[in-house]
């Protein structure tokens, strides 16, 4: 996608749900809005098996083709910018049909330099059963990640993502996924890195598909974490579930916008979204906008949102057992964040995320 195409797009209006709170001018790396800098470095992407064994046959990471039909929103300003910054470079993670892995795959994406970018296309063949751990790290000042994927029919695809870039980074993510018939896709995200983070995550479901997105975000300092989740049910008899748990400390801000759309005739759809915010300091802020658009009647669609401070009873309970207030707060925050992953169907990803969160919270305690 060309720089000229990016420049031809208008700046997104704040009336657009996805752009309501974090405008593009705040995210652009130089502030010159029609410019796509030339000095982007491509992030280093490494694929391996989590248990250290060799990659099995049927699994490959190769250079991809950016000119192929994309699931990403072509006319979105951020997507066009990132594609222009990638300059045609993409990675293609291919998992052949009927692949069943006993151990999770591990994809490391390391972003370094002033400006960094990566575009990854995932293709999972029919009837496969895979788990992938994605580790996003690095000290890049500005990092943009495009991910798109097609999950084949009757697949089981589960992924865990740790976004742990430098605490001063700006991180932009744009993703689009399409699940095949009777496929199951679970995405669990632990968002702890970056100072200014915006993620636009979208999914389209086929008949019989199940899509679950679980997000835990921990805000410290002046961190701003903006998640926009969009799930479309163009056909019925499928299920989607979105869960976000935001813990906001210091002057941090969590923004969660969601839109569940059930199209006309998509009977039998079951869609829900739950956004919970734990406010830990006087200057923390949380915004939740869980939207529903329902055009079919034989459906179940629901959303819920809640914001609250630490429960003083829980604090009292822990402190009466000898913990100081910081340790008690750390335990409660850890429990609140990990609860976002309680419906994970596989232990391996859940245990890994719990371990990463424990390390992160321990480091916070030491600061």
């Amino acid at each position: 996608m060309s720089k000229a195409f990016y420049a031809s797009l208008a700046e997104p209006s704040q009336a657009i749900h996805a752009w309501k709170y974090t405008p593009w001018k705040k995210l652009h790396p130089t502030g010159k809005l029609n410019e796509v800098p030339d000095d982007f470095l491509e992030a280093v992407v490494i694929l391996s098996m989590m248990d250290g064994s060799d990659l099995p046959s049927g699994v490959s990471l190769e250079r991809g083709d950016d000119s192929k039909t994309s699931l990403l929103q072509e006319d979105d300003k951020a997507v066009a910018f990132l594609r222009a910054a990638c300059d045609g470079n993409t990675w293609e993670l291919n998992i052949e049909a009927n692949t069943i892995l006993s151990s999770p795959l591990h994809v490391s994406i390391r972003a370094s330099g002033h400006l960094s970018v990566s575009h990854i296309q995932v293709q999972v063949g029919n009837n496969s059963d895979v788990e992938i751990i994605w580790a996003l790290s690095g000290e890049a000042g500005w990092f943009g990640l495009l991910r798109e994927g097609i999950i084949g029919h009757a697949c089981h695809y589960h992924e865990g993502i740790e976004q742990a870039l430098s605490s001063s980074s700006t991180v932009i993510r744009a993703e689009s996924w399409k699940t095949g018939r009777d496929a199951t896709m679970t995405t669990s995200l632990l968002s702890i890195g970056g100072e200014l983070v915006r993620s636009d995550l979208r999914a389209i479901l086929d008949k019989g598909a199940t899509y679950q997105q679980f997000i835990a975000s921990n805000g410290k300092g002046i961190r701003r974490d903006n998640h926009h989740l969009q799930v479309t049910h163009p056909v019925g008899n499928n299920q989607s579930e979105l869960v976000i748990h935001n813990a906001c400390d210091d002057k941090s801000r969590a923004i969660s916008t969601g839109r569940l759309t059930i199209a006309k005739g998509a009977d039998g759809s079951d869609a829900s979204q739950i956004f919970k915010n734990l406010l830990l300091s006087q200057k923390a802020r949380a915004d939740s906008i869980p939207e529903l658009e329902v055009l079919a009647n034989d459906v179940s669609a629901a959303h819920g949102a809640a914001s609250a401070p630490l429960d003083p009873e829980q604090m009292f309970y822990l402190m009466s057992r000898g913990l100081d207030s910081e340790e008690s707060e750390g335990l409660i925050v850890g429990g609140f964040l990990i609860a976002a992953f309680e419906k994970l169907p596989r232990d391996s990803i859940g245990n890994w995320l719990k371990g990463r969160l424990a390390i992160h919270l321990d480091c916070n305690l030491l600061e």
């Binding site: 209006s13 009336a15 006309k264 005739g265 009977d267 915010n277 406010l279 830990l280 300091s281 006087q282 200057k283 923390a284 802020r285 949380a286 915004d287 939740s288 906008i289 869980p290 939207e291 529903l292 658009e293 329902v294 055009l295 079919a296 009647n297 034989d298 459906v299 179940s300 669609a301 629901a302 959303h303 819920g304 949102a305 809640a306 914001s307 609250a308 401070p309």
Partner: protein, 498 residues
């Protein structure tokens, strides 16, 4: 002669007179005769002959704004405010959210912005012109006034034609006037509060209302006075292509309370009318205002209304809002909880039938500590209708220990209808508790089966379930209104099965 050229001829004929602000009504009456006879199922879809004493040509200009002000013999500051608002209105773009397609289809140049059908506001029904009196008789207003109302305002087109208040309330110092009389008799109060809650620059339609407002209610409840019986305003649009822009200001002094009810109907025409009101409530310390609306405009009316109240220390503002009619409603009653201990309660229900879009919701701003709010929104969509809940809860950094609860429920009765929920919660204070939940579903088969197994037809069973669904709203209304609303809903539900 073709219809359009007739209108042009009529406008040409009347322009000279219009420059003087006055236009005779014969041609307009002829046009009114052509109004569609069929009123369908809408019970209030009848219309009466139009006997305008003053009718402005279609379209809006600065001169029209000045003429309205001149006819009303308003003070200079009000004229200037109208003109400023008009300039803001023309410079402000149409909202780019909501149902833009319907909004952009409104032909603002094909609307009459001022039409007066009587000499003035009367306090005796016998003095009201016969045809207007007939209209309100058919709507049951005088009967209701005698039985259970503390006061009545009846607005017909642009002007209030009748208002009354019980003597005992008047003796206690309650001021209940139409807004034009309020401006004449209490100019200082109006100057102080008019536009203080909803400034003309708030949105495009508040600017339009401020520019061309006419009629509405002006109500002041003195300190410590509790108005036990509700006061009611009734708004009726009779002509086609009519714009009604009433302005209501209610001030509850410390420790007082009032229940204000408004009802709205219009005839069914094939062309569109516009209702764009502004309502401002001021609840001073320890006071209580309940503002109930049963909006039952015909489905050719665009209903674009701005309603907002400011609640001071330990006061309560309640919006009880029922939207059944209109083609497009965009209405989000708001409360600004400005001082400690203030409370907001918003209960709204919406019914959307064929071709209707009820885009309703609520807004609450928590600006002070220990403020609380509760929002309950319910909607039903049927025959391709669309209901949207659009809400905002904003908790400011200084609003410690506030509590917010938002619940939205929607029922979809068929596969062609649509329900949307657009809630926004912005929380900037750590100590507050905000809860929101929403669900969209169809009528439970189990409930239908239960009722039908007890001998009800499917239609009756459905009607009972719908009435039960709206019960949290109807129980907040006076009995007479609640039973009327239930009847209305039953009528709307006819034919909903099979």
């Amino acid at each position: 002669m073709q219809f359009k050229s007739r209108i042009r001829a009529m406008i040409g004929l009347s322009q000279q007179m219009h420059r003087r602000g006055i236009n005779m009504s014969q041609e307009a009456r002829d046009m009114s005769q052509e109004a569609r006879d069929a009123v369908g199922d809408y019970r209030y879809g009848f219309h009466d002959p139009e006997n305008a004493t003053i009718r402005f040509d279609f379209g809006l200009s600065e001169q029209v704004v000045r003429d309205i002000s001149e006819i009303k013999n308003e003070p200079h500051w009000m004229t200037e405010m109208r003109v400023k608002a008009y300039k803001h209105y023309i410079s402000r773009p149409m909202p780019d959210w909501g149902n833009s397609e319907m909004l952009n289809s409104i032909d603002f140049e094909n609307i009459c912005y001022y039409l007066k059908s009587s000499k003035g506001s009367e306090t005796d029904w016998d003095e009201v012109p016969e045809d207007i009196k007939n209209t309100f008789d058919r709507l049951g207003i005088p009967n209701a006034e005698q039985k259970w109302l503390g006061g009545v305002t009846a607005q017909y087109e642009s002007e209030v034609v009748y208002h009354s208040i019980r003597e005992d309330l008047e003796e206690q110092g309650v001021v209940f006037l139409d807004m034009d009389s309020g401006l004449r008799e209490y100019e200082d109060v109006v100057k102080q509060y008019f536009g203080s809650v909803v400034p003309y620059s708030d949105n495009k339609f508040s600017a339009l209302n401020t520019a061309v407002w006419s009629g509405g209610s002006f109500l002041i409840i003195p300190e410590g006075v509790h108005v036990e019986m509700p006061v009611q305003a009734y708004f009726r649009i009779n002509s086609k292509n009519m714009g009604q822009f009433e302005r209501t200001l209610i001030i509850a002094r410390p420790g007082s309370s009032v229940h204000y009810i408004e009802g709205c109907t219009a005839p069914t025409y094939s062309t569109d009318s516009l209702h764009s009101a502004v309502v401002e409530l001021i609840a001073e310390e320890g006071s209580h205002i309940r503002y109930s609306t049963v909006q039952n405009w015909s489905t050719n009316v665009y209903n674009l209304v701005t309603k907002r109240g400011i609640a001071y220390r330990n006061s309560t503002i309640e919006w009880v809002d029922g939207n059944i009619g209109s083609r497009l409603t965009m209405k989000y009653p708001a409360v600004i909880l400005k001082e400690e201990g203030a409370h907001a309660e918003i209960i709204s229900v919406a019914y959307s039938g064929e071709g209707q879009h009820q885009d309703a919701g609520s807004k609450v701003h928590h600006l002070a500590p220990n403020t609380t709010s509760r929002i309950l929104a319910k909607s039903i969509s049927k025959n391709g209708g669309r209901s949207s809940y659009r809400g905002l809860v904003k908790v400011s950094p200084k609003a410690h220990n506030c509590k917010v609860s938002v619940v939205c429920d929607a029922l979809l009765l068929d596969a062609d209808s649509r329900s949307d929920t657009y809630p926004t919660m912005e929380v900037s204070n750590q100590s507050c508790v905000v809860e929101h939940e929403a669900s969209v579903s169809k009528v439970s088969g189990e409930q239908l089966f239960y009722l039908m197994s007890r001998g009800h037809t499917e239609e009756q069973a459905m009607g009972m379930i719908i009435n039960g669904f709206f019960e949290p709203f109807t129980k907040e209304l006076p009995l007479e209104y609640a039973s009327e609303l239930n009847k209305l809903l039953e009528m709307e539900m006819v034919g909903s099965i099979g």
